[in-house]
Amino acid sequence: MTKYLAKIGLEMHCEISKTKSKVFSSAKNSFSGSPNSNVRPVDMAFPGTLPVVNKEAVRLSLMASMILHCTQPEYMYFERKNYYYPDLPKGYQITQNTKPIPVGTDGYVEFEYNGELHKVRINNIHLEEDTASLDHYYSTSNIDYNRAGIPLLELVTEPDLHSADEAVAFLEHMRSIYQYANISDADSKKGQIRCDVNVSIMDASLDENNPDNWGTKVEMKNVNSFGGVRDAINYEINRQIELKETGKYAEMEQQTRRWDEESGTTKFMRSKVDEIDYKYFVEPNIPKFKIDPEWLKEIKNSIPMLALDRKNKYINELGLSNYDATVLVKEKAISDYFEECVNIGIDPKRAANWVTVNIISELNKDSISIDEFYLRPKELKLITDALESNKISSKQAKEIFTKSLEEKKSPQEFINANSQISDTQELTTIIKNILATHQEQIADYHNGHTNLFDYFVGQVMKETKGKANPVMTKEILKQELDK
């Protein structure tokens, strides 16, 4: 591989899942719902229907554009991309081409990979509508128009990535941005993220900044998971290297291939010559509109704290370790959970400890997301409060945590049953009563049988069924014996 340098570019499609309705339709934007239930006439292109732009989708796409350091346009336009396919009821998709100008152009993203900061240039990001989803069966196909018209952000990178792992790290970073900015759940299990990947290889000794040195670009369509992106890139790099090594590379034409997940290979779809002409033109039903600079400012100021900002806050303001902070921000839902814990008054370090140690291992064990986790922050607080006020020991706290998860019951029930006796007066009375009936042993103790101290502790525990606060018990016992 060192002989060759791979140049990888991505087209990442991510559905905007955080708008109430679709991008050009008043139908609900929702992943769930029975097939063809979230559909308005325009989603099925009934004659006479017209698109109406969803302002919130535009707002979120402008926000994404800003986060990616792109330039925002002065005017918003939409365009038609014309082609026939059963998942495209109108026979065209409303999208944004690079002319006149999409929602964002010429930006960049910095992300961590192998402990270093990497930078990828963003050619453009644009807002468009998703197509219907197709389910193919043996002899029939079903069409579900729920997905038709869901807002979709497509970002196009320059070919600045060099390996499959780096590409995946970039995608993970982008997913985190979409999640933290409240633009999308960016859940590939729900089909919200889809990628087209292009790969070429070049002689590693040449200057990669000179496009003349680049190899022939191969595009792979519809790679729908991050694992798939990794495999497809690795497969394609190896395929192209083999062509080089066997002297067949020069014959390879610029082409589009399909990633076949089942066989783990890419298959030829069409060459550059057969490229589809989408006959783009400006959508006449959506008048171009000026983007108010004041609105842009408002959007800029409303960008939520992203993962890196949160991490810095956890370290600098909440005093967490770099390790804990990193673990907490890896997933927005976990970070949100942690923040809620802190907001309702759990000590940040204690909360971080519970989340990073106990909760995450429970999530992994049951492979569930934190949103599905039984104990919500306010229930966790019952445990941490009891611990803090010495009602329970830390060992008991863990037992209660496990029990309430197992039995799906509020920790309160177990705390009450287990609460420690930590009241000095109560403990003193109990201890005095016990000592009053053990005069003989007291005498022995004073005569040098100091190991009888543990015997007395045992008696207190027996009397209190183990609920006496052990530290306090020892303290009071010592005082009373030494009187």
């Binding site: 004659p47 006479g48 014309n82 026939y84 059963p86 006449p284």
Partner: protein
């Protein structure tokens, strides 16, 4: 004909005073519909079960009207006069139709058009050709052929039309009635089957200017379903008709109106232009300043091709939804491509297929700059020139077409290239989205001819008022085609 020849105001008075009922009007209108259908083939559907509506203070309440069959009407067959939608019954109504429903208006039929509005002859609808009620050997022009025919025949006081090039204003002239398309976006296009979205307008055909104002007052309004619609709440068309036009300025274009432009002019064309100038004298007598202006002939000559380019390009994309998969007759075939092909091959008439081919060619990447982008530039130049005129003049006034209705036989003979601009200049009103109205201004060879008044965007009231004043100087207000009146 007892009532249907009357104006909307007259009918409203009769209804209000209890001299006639909505039911009786509907009955008469339906009977006339069947007669007109038999003679001229103007309708796709006649709504024999039309129900009377309560008479309110709304002028349109209880009065029958017709709807061009490219308006989506809930529960009523809406074909666009195309085999691709021959059994299509929509489950929602166009906003303009809903607005009329709110006014209490009663639709009694759906009228024939050139397939999806593409065509200017009234001969390409899937139910056959529409004949001119003044002379059945002549065409009505199109595409709002059925609506023009029915209104001219006195089936009802008004019918809805749509206008992408001149589809309301030309048939109005050929049928001796009024055709008005207001400023782009004044009436919502939601529910109007798209032909060329940037040029499509809703509008109305009536027998007098006031009725046109009354109907558009009811049809218009901003619509959350149409982003190109705008708020016209402060525009009251009927209320602004006062006939006061003294001091107004209008212009006509030398390169279109001067007979010297047409060395091979036939007698009809000569008479048409002479009649046009006589009508201008009427305006002058009202105290209107009428001036001749010049527009670059090269620019004018580029107009017809510009229209074809833009309208075909948009149409080919707009009609890509007609695949027979979601609605329309399902095509036969091994796979979806074969099914779509079958549906479209069988469904569309040759004329429309030709336009799709042109549109598709124009939009191809390698042709866009040369055709599509250049057409947009010419459109911009023409609109700019017209706006320049509107800076000085209240309106541009021009003759409609090169004379009266053309014969149905040999209807597709090629136009004399010299008179092409005369036939096509109304399309400039669509390029700019200008309010534009045609009114009848005389007869040639026993057939009506028309004159057109076009003003600046949002200046509808002014345009209508000039038309209203001019209409009062002539005797063609409320005229009914002779054929039908004789028949009665």
């Amino acid at each position: 004909m007892k009532y249907m020849h009357k104006t909307i105001e007259e009918l409203h008075e009769l209804l209000k005073n209890g001299e006639v009922t909505s039911e009786e009007l509907i009955q008469e209108s339906l009977e006339l519909s069947h007669k007109v259908q038999e003679k001229y083939n103007a309708f796709v559907t006649i709504l024999d079960d039309a129900k009377p509506r309560e008479i309110t203070d709304n002028l349109l309440s209880g009065i029958p009207y017709g709807i061009k069959d490219n308006y989506s009407t809930k529960g009523i067959l809406s074909t666009g006069s195309s085999n691709t939608l021959k059994d299509y019954v929509p489950f929602f109504s166009a906003t303009a139709v809903l607005n009329l429903e709110k006014a209490g208006a009663v639709p009694v039929n759906k009228t024939v058009l050139d397939e999806f509005g593409m065509g200017g002859t009234g001969t390409t609808g899937h139910t056959g050709i529409v004949k001119n009620p003044w002379n059945p050997t002549r065409m009505c022009a199109g595409s709002s052929a059925g609506s023009a025919c029915a209104v001219a025949s006195g089936v009802y006081p008004y019918a809805l039309g749509s206008d992408t090039g001149d589809s309301i204003r030309k048939p109005a002239a050929y049928c001796g009635i009024v055709g008005y398309k207001p400023t782009y976006g004044m009436i919502s296009r939601y529910g109007l089957f798209a032909f060329a979205s940037s040029l499509d307008h809703c509008g109305v055909l009536t027998r007098n200017v006031q009725d046109a104002a009354i109907v558009v007052d009811a049809m218009k309004g901003i619509d959350p379903n149409d982003m190109t619609s705008w708020d016209s709440e402060n525009i009251h068309l009927r209320a602004s008709l006062n006939g006061q036009v003294k001091g107004k300025k209008v212009c006509y274009i030398k390169e279109i109106c001067d007979i010297a432009n047409y060395p091979h002019a036939n007698a009809e064309l000569k008479e048409h232009l002479a009649n046009f100038h006589r009508t201008l004298d009427n305006l002058k007598n009202l105290g209107v300043t009428v001036e001749e202006v010049s527009v670059d002939r090269t620019l004018l000559n580029a107009e017809p091709a510009t229209y074809v380019t833009i309208s075909c390009a948009e149409a080919t994309s707009n009609m890509s939804n007609l695949t027979g998969i979601i609605f329309g007759p399902r095509g036969a075939g091994e796979n979806y491509i074969a099914m779509m092909k079958d549906h479209r091959t069988k469904g569309f008439s040759p004329l429309i297929k030709r336009r799709f081919v042109i549109g598709s060619y124009i939009l191809q990447r390698e042709n866009q700059e040369r055709y599509f982008k250049n057409a947009q530039r010419v459109r911009r130049l023409l609109v700019d020139r017209w706006k320049e005129l509107f800076a000085t003049y209240d309106a541009v006034i021009l003759p409609v077409g090169s004379g009266p209705a053309k014969p149905l036989e040999n209807s597709n003979t090629k136009l004399d290239s010299n008179s092409e601009i005369l036939e096509e200049h109304l399309q400039i009103g669509n390029f700019g989205g200008f309010p534009s109205i045609t009114i009848p201004n005389g007869f040639i060879s026993g057939l009506p001819v028309g004159i057109n008044i076009t003003g600046n965007c949002y200046d509808d009231a002014n345009v209508l008022n000039i038309a209203y004043a001019l209409e009062n100087t002539m005797n063609y207000r409320n005229q009914i085609a002779k054929e039908v009146t004789n028949h009665d």
